[in-house]
């Protein structure tokens, strides 16, 4: 994009004094407005300074930035705690027109000392843009020192974040909860996690952890085990005699909220609504909670008895779950409105398996399953002892001779690894591309190979083959080969003509994706939907065009993942609260800053970090091999206390402050 000046990530682009159409390009992404209306003219942060346009006042911005640093300083190291205060005082003098040249020299010295010696990102990276400002805006400082200029009093919204936090859809304060584990405050750690998500048990076991892909420790030797530390915090509470935090606001509001679907999004939304005082009822189609986390994630990854306790906590805080209520049939928006529900959170997920689009799929052959349905049966079967539920008819699982699973995502992984555990010794993946393209978590792929799953790459199904009795006996497939590069340069697999052949198999599971079932929206035609059958909401507030209906999770994003759904729910619950209290529905300055920061990006995989490496990541202990085959025992055993503390100690606490300059002032 074109900006007036940028020192972002040490790439200097200085267009000052040039005609606007002669401006050089810069590889930085930032929105031009702060909130869609007011102009953002500058951004200051860990990577330097970006000036988008006039007007701006770099000295006043730097003064405010240092003030924000001092405010964010956790006080746990000397240079940041005292040093940024000394800087703040000097800046205050300068902005008031009482600064001297000596002040500038002293500031430069302080910046160097603080950034080299501080404990975490605030002190290490905070002085960076200040140094840039001295280097590139010396004249502005001199104007202040000479008394020629005074601060114009612009608005400087700011946000303290971290690469991991910025990458997390829930915006979880990851460095804090890690630090609390390091400091032995496990209850505090869990409380921090719960501020962003009540699902520490499930997320700590089965999150795809975008945070770990944005962890600066990866630049040193290996990213932190952020996800599994979350599990440790939850397990610690689960295993010890801890009084869980209560809900002092329980049912203090008169407005009732209805949540449709007791999956991760629904449960999370219920949790945050409950904490705001609203009575919440969750309507769930199945006799079990957890949605896709229950049916779609096998017992060996999230033991359902453990998950039950996670759900029970939400009930303990005042939430009610009504099971076996099929929304759209048993209840509708109209019936619930009539019962006094003031707002709705639709989180029905995506539980319809996509069809493969092959011949014979419509014939209802015996032995053909959708991925989700297959996993649900398996979960119902494998949890019958751990979580007995009279409402579930435990299925009889006839062991197939050979299982073919079509697809290469995590659902496919769960299907094959489940059948290995159920004792089938011929379990196969059919995937139309190569191993490199498998969308599943590489760790899962590796584990599955280790457990004996066979992979058939470059193979696409074309037809289901059944015997006379209607039992499936195989899948006709076509070989694939890499076609010519398309316009983006990527080569797509194309079928090899005449390569059709039948792969034998008496159970065929199609795990190539899911669709959402949103038939219940017929009642509310004003709620917009997409062509992929997902619901359209405001991207900030998750409010639909019908004001009392909010939506989140897979039914909005399309089948995605746990943590995104949970992130939606947290925001949606905040906005539902605003709606029900009669407040304007919208997001805060901090949340606006979150978006801006997400645009520019916090993590830089090329950053060189002055920390000696060689501190290995703690290995996750796993169960014995004999427990993996033929058993649904949890594979990962969780960190021990000392391993968790050691792992947490690797965290570099990469907090950073991002600040915008909004000349039009704050909206008040």
């Amino acid at each position: 994009m074109k900006v007036l000046f940028s020192s972002w990530l040490d790439v200097i682009v200085d267009n000052r004094g040039k005609a606007r159409d002669a401006w050089d390009d810069v590889k930085v992404k930032l929105p031009e407005t702060y909130d869609g209306a007011r102009k953002m003219t500058a951004f200051m942060g860990w990577g330097g300074i970006v000036v988008l346009d006039e007007p701006f006042d770099i000295v006043e911005m730097a003064a405010n930035y240092v003030k924000a640093l001092q405010k964010s300083s956790c006080a746990k190291c000397f240079p940041c705690r005292v040093g940024t205060k000394v800087m703040e005082d000097i800046f205050a003098r300068i902005v008031a027109g009482q600064g001297t040249e000596r002040d500038l020299t002293q500031l430069e010295g302080l910046c160097d000392t603080i950034s080299r010696n501080s404990k975490c990102g605030i002190g290490q990276l905070g002085p960076g843009p200040i140094v840039d400002s001295f280097k590139h805006f010396r004249k502005e400082y001199q104007d202040y020192v000479l008394g020629k200029k005074k601060g114009p009093g612009y608005f400087y919204p700011n946000k303290t974040t971290a690469p991991c936090t910025a990458a997390c859809p829930t915006g979880m304060d990851i460095p804090l909860y890690i630090e609390q584990i390091k400091e032995g405050d496990f209850a505090g750690s869990l409380a921090t996690i719960r501020q962003a998500s009540p699902m520490a048990c499930s997320l700590g076991r089965a999150c795809f952890h975008p945070c770990e892909n944005n962890c600066r420790r990866e630049n040193v030797e290996r990213s932190l085990a952020i996800c599994k530390l979350k599990r440790f915090a939850w397990d610690y509470e689960d295993l010890h005699v801890v009084e869980k935090p209560g809900n002092p606001s329980r049912h203090t509001r008169p407005e009732k909220a209805a949540v449709i679907g007791a999956g991760p999004a629904g449960l999370s939304a219920a949790y945050y609504l409950l904490l705001q005082g609203f009575p919440v009822t969750i309507f769930e189609k199945l006799p079990t909670p957890g949605g896709a986390a229950w049916t779609g994630i096998p017992h060996y990854r999230i033991p359902k008895d453990v998950m039950m306790r996670e759900v029970k906590y939400i009930e303990d805080l005042g939430g009610e779950i009504k099971y076996n209520v099929h929304f759209g049939k048993d209840e509708t928006f109209a019936t619930l409105r009539a019962k006094g529900y003031k707002s709705f959170f639709v989180a029905t997920g995506g539980d319809l398996s996509k069809s493969m689009g092959v011949e014979g799929e419509d014939k209802n052959y015996q032995g053909v399953y959708g991925g989700i349905a297959a996993l649900k049966e398996i979960t119902d079967f494998t949890t019958k002892d751990a979580v007995p539920n009279p409402a579930i008819k435990v299925p009889v699982l006839a062991k197939p001779k050979k299982v073919l699973v079509v697809g290469g995502g995590n659902t496919a992984m769960d299907c094959v690894r489940s059948w290995i555990r159920l004792g089938c010794d011929d379990v196969n993946i059919v995937y139309r591309r190569t191993k490199k393209e498998l969308p599943a978590d590489p760790h899962e792929v590796h584990e599955s190979e280790d457990e004996g799953v066979k992979y058939n790459f470059m193979l696409a199904p074309t037809k289901l083959v059944a015997d006379a009795s209607g039992k499936v006996i195989g899948l006709e497939c076509q070989k694939m080969e890499m076609g010519p590069p398309d316009e983006s340069g990527r080569r797509k697999p194309v079928p090899v003509p005449g390569s059709e052949h039948v792969v034998e198999g008496d159970m065929i599971i199609s795990a190539i994706g899911q669709d959402c079932d949103i038939f219940f929206l017929k009642e509310v035609p004003n709620v917009k939907t997409t062509k992929w059958k997902t619901i359209v909401t405001n991207e900030d507030t998750f409010q639909t065009d019908v004001p009392d209906i909010f939506a989140g999770g897979d039914v909005v994003s399309g089948p995605l993942n746990l943590v995104t759904a949970v992130g939606h729910a947290r925001r949606a619950a905040q906005c539902m609260g605003q709606y029900m209290r009669g407040e304007p529905v919208g997001i805060s300055d901090e949340q606006r800053m979150e978006k801006i920061i997400a645009t520019i990006g916090v993590y830089d995989k090329n950053e060189k970090i002055p920390v000696p490496g060689g501190w290995p990541r703690q290995e996750m202990p796993i169960c014995d091999r004999q427990d993996k085959i033929g058993s649904f025992k949890e594979v990962e055993l969780g960190y021990s206390l000392e391993a968790a503390v050691d792992e947490a100690s690797r965290c570099m606490r990469c907090y950073v402050v991002g600040m915008a300059c909004v000349p039009e002032g704050s909206a008040k």
Partner: protein, 858 residues
């Protein structure tokens, strides 16, 4: 990835200032540097906690890394090249100290930390003369409402040491950093006045004068004479240094290198020294004349006693009865029993530990032959599951919990609490089990049954303990009745605990006072020892006082000679129970050494009656205690801080006590009093010094041999346990009848009998403004809210606890932790009432079940 089994390296090699060093993986650069003698300055670093990394003073240079690296929290890695000193580093370190000096008051002349202040030392060491950073100073008021702790924010450098030690070492986690940036301060977690265990560990680690004790402090570090000795309070036997200025004790300090406690102390140890030099100490012998006492000199007093005692000799061995002390040294107790057996020809001597826990002692002896079980703290720490049985761990022997916390943080050990009320331990225990006191035996049987079952179902008994058919049959016979006595929830918990013991494999069972005083102590202890044997675990018996172990080792018990040899001389064998003896026989003379029996005896009125019955009572004491008041002759003895000798702690470790100050007045060590008395009666023991006595003990008592070389007892000599399991059903015990409340003692960390009374600092922590509860009256008694509701009691209601001929008042306090059906009353109150009168005149029947030398036995 986890599935790849790689051989993990256990060491790394690096160079420090050019010197090659090999250290274990996980060693920090700082630790590695210290190992090769490199001195890197530190300020916030504490050996006992995870590195804090707040002061940034310990920076080093690592080749290839641009910028300083903190040595305290960076693990050494293979091939690292470290430089510990350079001009750059000096400058950085100076800068860090200069940051602190911004607005740090230059109060050194009036600061109590002056001379031992880390900030002072570093400022000097780094050659800081001036600095030119500044920010506006805001004077903050020192915090004075934190009990024994005072906090001066102006002096605080925010190093976080207090926060860390309180969290990791004490487990209390009372502190936090409050606020952000420069205005941040140390505060309590809840912002309210500090309400903690007041161990004072935070003071001990404060590098500056920010945290100090609220006690009057009149010395400077360089003025003190420090004497290393052993704490005179509980059975843990912590070492500490008594700081004396001009003959006056001004404080107690400790350090990591000192003793088995590794520098850890509790409130009693750190603040409980004031009694030594109180004005109320006895300073001269006193003889009763009419209604009062007359002070006299030693020769007169001893001659008077000798004459009296000689006069009773004709009446035979039962003319005499004596009581030794859990607080006196081994030497004191040894000479006392020798005086009885050799000079008086009587074996009628006992001690309160043996009397209170007589059943327990029997259980211990039975299991361990000649010696009580012993377990060193180093061994204890290797355990990975600590099962507290009948132990209120935070109030009895608190420093043992410090060792346990080390195991928790070091290798993820867990804690399970079993107690007659909801017990308290930090960090959070894995399990809390609350049994009914009357069902303690049944509880242990059920646990044993579940443990055997879970082990057998999972591959057998790993310890190899002989779970014979006979044993199983006995166990089976007890089991159904035992399980029936527990409610369903507790039974389920017991099964969980058994599974946990099986899983953890290295359990340590800790036996508290409640077990030792239980009427079925012997059977219960037998069961706990069985549990340990079956699980392959260990046992530790907690001891109330500093020499509860030693007094028994010294043979201050009827029929047991030093070293637990049986008394075989028919003419000396004694009655097993002192009260029975006095009541049934014409006992003429009672000699009580250093034991405030009229206060500590749960049925003190009964003991008082016994005391009044004898013609002549001699009391050796340090204070004009209730017991001393009832005597005919009172002899002043010195406290442990004024004499030498040895104490034997709960590990079985014999430790030297050293005099820190001169004996007050004319007080003398107890052993010398009895040696002199023996001499006056014609038996010269020939001791010229305490070491003469110690030497004799060493030759008489197996395991004590090493003490003469300044060493410790030989543990191996004390661990001889038989591998076989034994089980016998105990005699039936009275259980509370319907509607009857059970009285159970509540231990207080701050109360250790008369010593606390004469330590104003400790006394104030329990809200006692005078030296005697009986004067002030109305201590809190704890009820379960459900019971209180049923009995129509409100908080703060006054209750009258009535026993025949005596009564005391208490105030109601409600606590969910109390088990329904029981009332918790302070340990030092009379435990024998049978009726509680409410203010409204209602009578509540109550019962004390503790197997003390209480009413039913006396």
């Amino acid at each position: 990835m986890s599935h790849v089994t790689t051989e993990t390296k256990t060491t790394v090699t690096l160079t420090i200032d050019g010197q090659t060093v090999e250290v274990g993986t996980g060693t920090t650069i700082l630790q590695a540097a210290r190992r090769v003698g490199k001195k890197i300055p530190t300020l916030c670093y504490l050996e006992k906690t995870h590195p804090i990394g707040s002061c940034r003073v310990c920076s080093v240079e690592v080749a290839g890394v641009d910028g300083p690296v903190m040595s305290c929290n960076t693990p050494a890695a293979d091939g690292m090249s470290v430089t510990t000193d350079s001009e750059h580093l000096k400058e950085f370190r100076r800068n860090m100290i200069q940051f602190i000096l911004v607005n740090h008051p230059l109060d050194c002349p009036v600061c109590e930390r002056s001379g031992e202040c880390t900030l002072q030392n570093l400022t000097w060491q780094l050659g800081i003369q001036k600095h030119d950073w500044a920010t506006a100073a805001h004077e903050k008021k020192p915090v004075v409402d934190w009990g024994l702790i005072r906090y001066n924010q102006n002096l605080c450098v925010m190093c976080e040491r207090c926060v860390r030690i309180c969290n990791e070492v004490q487990g209390i986690d009372a502190y936090r950093i409050d606020g952000n940036g420069y205005s941040a301060k140390i505060n309590t977690k809840d912002g309210k006045p500090l309400d903690c265990d007041f161990c004072g560990q935070c003071i001990s680690v404060c590098p500056v004068g920010a945290l100090s004790s609220g006690m009057y402090f009149s010395g400077r570090s360089w003025e003190m004479v420090r004497t290393k000795t052993v704490c005179p309070h509980c059975g843990v036997g912590c070492s500490f240094e008594v700081n004396v200025k001009n003959g006056k004790i001004v404080r107690v300090t400790s350090n990591n290198a000192l003793g088995n406690n590794k520098g850890n102390l509790c409130a009693r140890g750190r603040f409980g020294y004031e009694f030594v030099q109180q004005g109320d100490r006895l300073t001269a012998p006193m003889i009763r004349r009419g209604h009062g006492f007359e002070t006299t000199d030693w020769d007169t007093a001893l001659a008077y006693i000798a004459e009296k005692l000689n006069g009773y000799r004709a009446a035979g061995k039962n003319a005499f009865a004596g009581l030794g002390s859990e607080r006196a040294t081994n030497e004191d107790n040894y000479v006392l029993q020798k005086f009885f057996r050799d000079a008086l020809g009587s074996g009628n001597i006992d001690n309160l530990a043996n009397m209170a826990g007589h059943e327990a002692a029997a259980g211990i002896f039975e299991q361990y032959g000649d010696f009580p079980m012993a377990l060193s703290f180093d061994e204890l720490k290797k355990g990975n599951l600590f099962v507290f049985i009948g132990l209120d761990g935070s109030n009895e022997n608190p420093v043992v919990s410090n060792h346990i916390r080390e195991a928790i943080h070091g290798h993820g050990a867990e804690v399970a609490l079993a107690y007659s009320k909801e017990a308290f331990f930090l960090p959070t225990p894995r399990m809390k089990l609350t049994y009914g006191f009357a069902d303690l035996y049944e509880f242990t049987v059920a646990l044993m049954g579940d443990l055997v079952a879970v082990l057998k179902a999972n591959g057998g008994i790993p310890s190899g303990a002989a779970v014979t058919a006979d044993f199983e049959q006995r166990l089976g016979a007890e089991l159904s009745g035992a399980r029936g006595a527990l409610d369903g929830a507790l039974a389920a918990q017991v099964a969980q605990l058994a599974a946990l013991i099986k899983k953890k494999e290295k359990p340590v069972f800790l036996i508290g006072q409640e077990v030792q005083r239980h009427p079925r102590a012997a059977a219960i202890i037998r069961n706990i020892v069985n549990l340990a044997k079956i699980a392959g675990g260990r046992v530790m018996v907690m001891r109330e006082y500093c020499n509860s172990q030693g007094v028994n080792d010294m043979g201050v018990a009827p029929n047991v000679l030093p070293g637990y040899r049986k008394e075989t001389r028919q003419e000396l064998t004694a009655y097993a129970d002192l009260c029975t003896l006095i009541n049934n026989h014409e006992t003429k003379a009672l000699i009580i050494a250093d034991e405030d029996v009229l206060r500590r005896h749960s049925d003190f009125v009964k003991f008082r009656e016994a005391m009044d019955k004898v013609e002549f009572a001699v009391v050796v004491d340090q204070f004009y205690s209730q017991t001393a008041m009832a005597a005919d002759v009172v002899l002043p003895s010195c406290t442990a801080l004024e004499k030498d000798g040895t104490f034997t702690n709960i590990e079985g470790r014999v430790q030297w006590v050293q005099p820190a100050v001169e004996p007050i007045g004319n007080s003398r060590p107890t052993w010398r009093i009895f040696a002199d008395l023996a001499k006056a009666m014609g038996h010269d023991f020939g001791y010229r010094s305490t070491t003469d006595v110690s030497r004799e003990i060493a030759s008489m008592v197996p395991g004590y041999g090493a003490i003469m070389d300044g060493g410790m007892t030989d543990f191996s000599a004390r661990v001889g346990a038989s591998a076989s399991l034994s089980m016998e059903s105990p005699a039936p015990m009275k259980k509370p009848a319907a509607g009857e409340m059970m009285l159970l003692p509540e231990h207080s960390l701050f109360v250790m009998g008369i010593y606390t009374d004469y330590c104003p600092s400790l006394r104030h922590l329990v809200g006692k403004h005078y030296a005697d509860f009986h004067v002030e009256g109305k201590p809190y008694v704890d009820f379960n809210p459900a019971d209180a509701a049923a009995l129509n009691l409100q908080a703060e209601d006054t209750l009258l606890f009535k026993a025949p001929k005596r009564e005391w008042k208490g105030r109601v306090r409600l606590s969910e932790t109390v088990r329904p059906g029981s009332v918790r009353i302070p340990d030092e109150m009379d435990q024998s009432p049978s009726v509680i009168m409410t203010a409204g005149g209602r009578e509540i029947q109550c019962r004390n079940l503790l197997g003390l030398m209480g009413a039913e036995k006396c």
